[in-house]
């Protein structure tokens, strides 16, 4: 998912901008001033790895409750901690702990309901660091936010739809870059906790 590369076209545009700036400066049409650089994406500031934030999923939960069940607010409050833990587990397995991995995605795949696990195995690149995990030495979590709609059963959450957004920084031998995940996960509550029963997921630059 992550490829370290110099953006050559940006470099050329910057050079042409330099020509133009020189002309303008010489003509006295500008007061001069500092340049914003070459327009390249910024890498991590020195020492940023040391200041990496721990993964923290900001989750907003709504609940749909059956007639005679708890209030929607109470149901949402009850479902929230378990969902947060699950999403934390997912992002940790898919990104944070995936750095340097050369296979062995069992921990992540166990978070999928069995009828969808084979599909998940084939599409790891859209669900996690995927094939590029081996190139990554560390993932520093950034924003992780989610919105969940939970369907409440008689006494406990039964299913949920979660819109999940995760941004982080991946460190490689050649530098650092951004990782992004945008997913809609359909979750099923099982005896073993939440499991992903269906997904629509995307990694790469946010649209």
């Amino acid at each position: 998912m992550i490829v370290a590369a110099r953006n050559q076209s940006k470099f050329r545009v910057a050079a042409l901008a330099g020509v133009l700036a020189g002309v303008l400066l010489a003509a006295g049409c500008t007061s001069g001033g500092g340049s914003e650089g070459h327009g390249q994406a910024s890498g991590p500031p020195a020492g940023s790895a040391a200041r990496a934030q721990p993964l923290q999923v900001k989750l907003v939960t709504m609940a749909k409750v059956p007639p005679g069940g708890p209030s929607a607010r109470r149901a949402a409050e009850q479902a929230q901690p378990g969902l947060e833990r699950f999403l934390d587990r997912y992002l940790t397995a898919a990104f944070v702990d995936a750095a340097g991995r050369k296979g062995g995605w069992g921990g992540l795949l166990r978070l999928f309901d069995k009828p969808v696990r084979a599909s998940a195995r084939k599409q790891l690149d859209a669900l996690s660091l995927g094939a590029d995990a081996a190139k990554v030495s560390a993932v520093r979590p950034g924003r992780a936010s989610a919105r969940a709609v939970v369907l409440y059963g008689e006494k406990r959450p039964a299913a949920a739809t979660v819109r999940l957004a995760f941004d982080g920084t991946a460190d490689t031998a050649k530098g650092s870059g951004q990782v992004h995940l945008r997913s809609v996960l359909q979750l099923l509550a099982t005896g073993e906790g939440w499991r992903i029963a269906a997904f629509d997921s995307r990694t790469g630059p946010p649209k």
């Binding site: 590369a5 953006n7 330099g18 690149d125 530098g175 029963a197």
Partner: protein, 308 residues
């Protein structure tokens, strides 16, 4: 510095700036190196989606009961009534297509332990399980699940999901069922959907038209569900909640969820609405519907997986 000196300096600066810029601009691209850090990361995008993989063929019997609807003056329990709307929904989960077989409620068929009778009586004799057994014996298909609702249930489902779009195939002026609809694509309220499913007496094809309309309602419901879920994936939870509250079924909740997720992936256009070949007749002075040989060959094709 003199004015002439200033002009010369400015000219030299301009020439130098132009020269420097042109040199850089016309130089061949430099290969990326680790020394270019901080490296710019370019990401390849990956997208994926998946719904559950279920067994190859799922067969669901949908039942509309004439009981358990207090708002329509229909007492008793929904399971002990007569089954007045009967559709066999067969989904090929691999090819993502399917068929809805609509059975006239007066189909005169063998009911295990109860001789031969109208098929809708099977549920009043032995609940949904006997109805399922009757269908299995009739068609030779294994029925995986049933889903049962009442007049109240159907109207509530449609009203709660916010109307169902149906291709109404004829102008309807049926005061018996309260169906007053013009031909064409219509967004039906709960009351209109029920009327469309019940209208029979004024229709040219009577019970045959009615059972076809019931199948159209199911297809319309599927299309409405898919449209809503496409706009907002959380609508899956809305529909599941409504179905849980309004439908009696032997589907466990996980199975219901998986089926609902699979249903997002089976285009409504890939569902055939088939009326089981049959003809009006009589038995013991009562009007009944007799299945034609074509019905049995249809069942055979379904068993062989030639028609899903």
């Amino acid at each position: 510095m003199t004015r002439r000196g200033l002009t010369l300096a400015a000219t030299l600066a301009l020439v130098a700036a132009l020269a420097a810029g042109l040199v850089v601009a016309t130089s061949p691209p430099r290969p990326a190196t680790a020394q270019d850090a901080p490296a710019v990361t370019v990401q390849r995008a990956h997208a994926a989606s998946a719904t559950p993989t279920l067994k190859r063929r799922v067969v669901l019997l949908t039942i509309g009961s004439d009981s358990g609807a207090p708002r329509f003056g229909r007492g008793g329990s929904v399971e002990s009534g007569r089954a007045d709307a009967l559709q066999l929904v067969i989904i090929d989960t691999v090819k993502k297509r399917g068929s809805i077989l609509s059975f006239p409620r007066d189909s005169y068929v063998p009911i295990p332990g109860h001789g031969t009778n109208k098929i809708n009586a099977a549920m009043s004799f032995g609940g949904p399980r006997l109805l399922v057994t009757t269908f299995e014996q009739l068609t030779g298909l294994t029925i995986d699940y049933y889903a049962l609702t009442s007049f109240d249930g159907l109207t509530d489902i449609v009203n709660k999901v916010g109307k169902v779009q149906v291709n109404v195939d004829m102008n309807l002026r049926d005061s018996f069922a309260g169906a007053f609809l013009d031909k064409g694509r219509r967004n039906l309220t709960g009351g209109q959907a029920l009327a469309y499913a019940r209208a029979r007496k004024t229709l040219p094809g009577g019970d045959f038209d009615r059972s076809r309309h019931q199948g159209q309602l199911l297809v319309g419901g599927l299309a409405t569900y898919q449209r809503q879920v496409k706009e907002d994936p959380a609508k899956v939870m809305t529909w599941l909640g409504i179905i849980r509250d309004e439908v009696k079924t032997d589907l466990s909740f996980p199975e219901l969820l998986r089926l609902a997720l699979l249903a997002t992936d089976v285009p409504a256009s890939g569902i055939k609405n088939i009326a089981v070949p049959s003809v009006a007749g009589s038995a013991g002075g009562a009007s009944v519907v007799r299945l034609l040989p074509g019905a049995y060959s249809l069942f055979g094709r379904l068993r062989a997986g030639k028609l899903s």
